[in-house]
């Protein structure tokens, strides 16, 4: 509940606090963005473990699986899809807050490049930056999807 309330509030506006704490470095961007990613991942992981079908656990118990085997072969495949969709959701938020912050406070990165390009009214560069952002998200999504395939095997 508290997490959900925090989730719906515009946390990104708290960025001056992080700037003062960490200085105008990428550490501030990482710190604030990790909060953004943290919340959906926590909520999805929680609901993943809540939704494990008890029948699956009973099957495992009746096959005399050890705790390790139980985790590797029953729990992990059962919770992986929801947890990974949490990762994907988290990625979206992290990407947004990273680029948004880079844009607003001018700390390096694609966001600052976009800001510069728009400031010089280089429309071509702005669109290139947009495409770059999309490619970035596709790349991260690909890595997450590959990891999911590995885990679920």
């Amino acid at each position: 509940m508290l997490l959900a309330a925090l989730f719906s509030s515009p946390i990104i506006l708290a960025y001056p606090i992080f700037l003062v704490t960490f200085g105008r470095t990428s550490a501030a961007v990482i710190a604030l963005s990790s909060i953004f990613g943290l919340i959906p991942i926590i909520m999805n992981t929680k609901s993943a473990f809540q939704q494990v079908n008890p029948v699956l656990l009973e099957v495992g118990a009746s096959m005399n699986l050890s705790r390790r085997q139980m985790f590797r072969h029953i729990l992990l495949p059962a919770v992986a899809p929801t947890i990974f969709s949490g990762f994907r959701l988290g990625l979206t938020y992290i990407l947004k807050s990273v680029l948004g912050l880079e844009y607003v406070v001018q700390i390096g990165g694609v966001g600052m490049w976009l800001s510069d390009a728009a400031f010089r009214f280089e429309v071509g560069e702005v669109y290139a930056g947009l495409v770059g952002t999309i490619l970035l998200s596709v790349m991260f999504l690909y890595v997450i999807n590959r990891t999911e395939v590995l885990v679920r095997r």
């Binding site: 508290l2 515009p10 001056p16 979206t92 680029l99 800001s115 728009a118 429309v123 702005v126």
Partner: protein, 271 residues
């Protein structure tokens, strides 16, 4: 003795409810904050005492200091949400009602939704100036994406079987729209508008922190640049409470309008 034990037990029981744990968490965080602020253990300037924050919060509530900024921000957020819904809902219905169009448009919208809308802000400044118009535009773009995506999701909920049944019953196009599509998408559209509100607040206020003449986001950066930390924290608190109240009010109104709640994904797909 027995009475004391009983009250102790009932106290423990009331603490162990979710609300009790939540209250304890908040109270604990406030106490730790106050201790850090009082002792100056860690970044003395960064953690002003809770009393100072509450004092400046009280000033915001009781004096007309913030009224012009509040007006500007409400205009931007409200206008942005209205424009976003005005474009998002019809487009979502159009995209969702034609399968081929949806297959073309949905990935494009999905990928564009990931891009932070704030980066189009400079272009809006050029078109609309540094007044409230450009922030309204950012808020509208930010609100548009969750609304259109959830409307499409709602349209997808209409299974072909429903349409077949309606056609077998010789439903007219109007009846098809009001009896099949409308009930299916209402819940999704409401959720989309609620998420769109959050997106609009984030977009418009973040744009205000960049270039603005008035607004709540503008005031945050003013306080930050003057290093008035207590004022900044209390303003953040003010904004968070405002956003939470708006979100809660919307939930309440929608649950009154829609007596049969459908299970829609609440966490929100794209802010």
């Amino acid at each position: 003795m027995n009475g004391v034990q009983q009250t102790g037990a009932s106290l423990a029981a009331s603490v162990q409810t979710p609300a009790g744990v939540q209250t304890l968490t908040v109270v604990g965080a406030v106490i730790v904050w106050e201790l850090i602020g009082r002792t100056g253990l860690l970044f003395p300037e960064l953690f002003p005492s809770v009393v100072g924050i509450l004092q400046s919060f009280w000033i915001y509530v009781t004096t007309p200091l913030l009224i012009p900024h509040l007006k500007a921000s409400l205009y931007e957020v409200g206008g942005g949400l209205f424009l976003g819904a005005l474009c998002g809902i019809p487009l979502g219905v159009i995209f969702g009602s034609q399968r081929s169009l949806m297959r073309v448009m949905e990935p494009i919208i999905l990928y564009l939704a990931v891009v932070p809308k704030i980066i189009i802000f400079p272009i809006f400044i050029l078109f609309l100036g540094i007044g409230t118009g450009s922030k309204l535009a950012v808020g509208a773009i930010a609100a548009f994406f969750p609304i259109v995506l959830l409307t499409i999701a709602g349209m997808r909920e209409v299974k072909p079987v429903y349409l077949d049944v309606a056609r077998t019953l010789r439903a007219s196009r109007l009846q098809l729209a009001t009896k099949v599509y409308l009930p299916a998408i209402t819940g999704y559209v409401f959720t989309g508008v609620r998420i769109g509100l959050g997106a609009s607040v984030t977009g418009a206020l973040l744009a205000e922190t960049k270039v603005a003449k008035a607004g709540l986001g503008f005031m945050i950066v003013e306080y930050y640049s003057q290093f008035r930390m207590a004022d900044m924290y209390s303003l953040l608190l003010f904004i968070f409470i405002l956003a939470a109240v708006a979100n809660w009010a919307m939930k309440l109104v929608f649950s009154l309008l829609l007596p049969l709640p459908r299970s829609t994904q609440d966490a929100g797909v794209f802010f």
